[in-house]
């Protein structure tokens, strides 16, 4: 396979007219059997394949994708990476992910452009400030960095926020996580795809899973648009379409699929160098390296599989952003889009065995799947390789809904999801 990416290589190819680059991954023909088949070549599926090869030495793996890799929620999110959660189980999970992101560009030899620019979650009332202090304490107890900022400290970091007397929601302060930031979402998918491919994993695009091969009550593979494929174990990492696949396998999941919208503005000169979220306005915003403001807010409240998003939520989100940053009122929008997110009752993911033996679940990430890609990959690879939970994934088993042991992070990120 092609050699590593480096500054020297870039220089050499530049001098040779860029003719020496090779495709970053192969396009292999689907074989009839693998040790492990992963459904869905998004961030989680590709990362799982990479860590199966890297951590467990299992390379006879196929990742099946009905469209193109990274074309679902991985290519549609707002690229925020953070671990500002409340419960110990969640902090263990999301901070593992953040730590893996910190070394990911080097690990994959692919620049995922992780920018540790910090994130603040604003609060606008005394009551919110009390909860913010509680969140900061919980995060610190869980070993995650957190600071409680006052109004002046917020103003120093983001002077364009609305500090006016007539602000709809006056700013009192913020919860700050300095290790949080943003990453290049496509690069995460491409980096994992290239690294997994180089270790021997086969990524097959335009291959839709249409059913499961079940023998003696156990999943033995999948039916696809390119024919049947047998597998020792099958993992699904298909986000918003998890319920659809579960129905093919004969069970239901505690998930509802909603459209989550996002927006990007025309490029502007640098005006915001951290991520800002405001629960009262129901919005969050950051500025990309290209200068576009990347913005999002709450879910559409209508169950949906159409990747469009509705107008009432657009109005709410954009109105809230203008309240937050009056200076952007006349900035033009470049694009609007939506991804289909699978929201669980406790806003926490589901990892582990499914009700069908041989089939394993990586789903329920809701609105926060991108930041969890490296941890989701490490843990799901462990589950698929060993057939058993990793200590960090165990609390997120599907059986928690029967046991009543939910991990309710509904309010943790400050955005209702």
């Amino acid at each position: 396979m092609g050699s590593s990416y480096s500054a020297l290589r870039l220089l050499r190819e530049g001098l040779r007219g860029q003719r020496g680059w090779r495709p970053a991954w192969r396009s292999p023909k689907l074989r009839r059997a693998y040790d492990i088949v992963i459904v869905g070549a998004g961030g989680h599926g590709l990362a799982t394949a990479y860590y199966l090869a890297r951590n467990h030495g299992i390379t006879n793996v196929a990742v099946l994708e009905k469209g193109w890799l990274g074309g679902g929620n991985t290519g549609r999110n707002t690229t925020v990476i953070r671990s500002n959660y409340y419960y110990p189980e969640s902090c263990a999970l999301y901070d593992l992910s953040l730590r893996l992101y910190e070394g990911l560009s080097r690990e994959l030899n692919y620049n995922v452009m992780f920018s540790r620019r910090g994130m603040m979650i604003l609060h606008h009332s005394e009551h919110e400030r009390e909860i913010a202090a509680r969140t900061v304490n919980a995060m610190r107890l869980n070993g995650v960095d957190a600071e409680l900022l006052g109004r002046d400290e917020v103003r120093a970091r983001a002077p364009l926020l609305n500090f006016g007397e007539d602000a709809r929601h006056p700013i009192l302060g913020a919860v700050w996580q300095g290790r949080a930031g943003t990453g290049r979402h496509d690069a995460v998918a491409w980096g994992y795809a290239r690294a997994a491919d180089r270790l021997g994993v086969e990524i097959v695009q335009n291959c839709e899973v249409t059913g499961f091969i079940v023998e003696g009550g156990t999943c033995k593979g999948v039916e696809t648009s390119l024919g049947p494929v047998r597998a020792g174990r099958v993992g699904m990492a298909v986000a918003g379409h998890s319920s659809h696949l579960a129905a093919m396998a004969g069970f239901r999941l505690p998930l509802t699929s909603y459209a989550l919208q996002a927006f990007v503005s025309e490029p502007l000169k640098p005006m915001l160098d951290c991520v800002v979220a405001s629960p009262a306005h129901g919005v969050y915003i950051s500025q990309s390296d290209k200068g576009g403001l990347v913005m999002g807010g709450a879910l559409d409240r209508v169950p949906a599989y159409g990747q469009r998003g509705n107008l009432p939520v657009q109005e709410d989100v954009l109105g809230g952003l203008v309240d937050c940053f009056p200076a952007i009122a006349r900035v033009g929008l470049l694009r609007q889009w939506a991804g289909i997110v699978d929201v669980s009752p406790d806003s926490s993911p589901i990892l582990g065995p499914s009700p069908l033996p041989g089939l394993y679940l990586n789903c329920g990430w809701g609105t926060g799947g991108f930041k969890a890609i490296p941890a989701g990959g490490v843990l799901f690879a462990h589950i698929l390789a060993q057939g058993a939970h990793h200590p960090i994934s165990a609390p997120f088993d599907l059986t928690r809904f029967e046991r009543g042991r939910l991990i309710d992070e509904g309010a943790a990120s400050g955005i209702a999801h």
Binding site: S243, H244, A247, G306, N310, P312
Partner: protein, 109 residues
């Protein structure tokens, strides 16, 4: 802006409506023992249909619950009927949806 049909008020702006849940969820019969698994199935598990779905909605301005059939992929509204007497809707006024589904009541696409 999309419009939905309230069976009582006719075509109205989508902002007037609230999604209350899937239609046809049958509450376990508590006159006998109910296992944790049965409760979890009722409380948490969802069909979450891709395509044709039957859902209980509330029209907030008139306060009535009703069953709406929608295509969750195209967002097209396929019909809406009063909850009372609807297949998969409840007979009681609590909107819990306790009646059995009709022959095509499972929302199969």
């Amino acid at each position: 802006m999309q419009v939905y049909t309230c069976p009582f008020c006719g075509l109205r702006d989508e902002r007037e409506f609230f999604f209350a849940g899937e239609a046809g969820a049958a509450r376990p019969d508590t006159t006998g023992p109910v296992s944790d698994a049965e409760w979890a199935e009722y409380v948490h598990m969802r069909r979450n249909m891709l395509g044709r779905a039957r859902e209980v909605w509330m029209h907030l301005t008139c306060g009535e619950l009703f069953v709406m059939e929608r295509d969750t992929l195209s967002a097209r509204v396929l019909g809406s009927v009063a909850l009372r007497g609807a297949p998969g809707g409840g007979e009681g006024a609590d909107g819990a949806g306790s009646a059995d589904d009709g022959p095509d009541g499972e929302g199969t696409p």
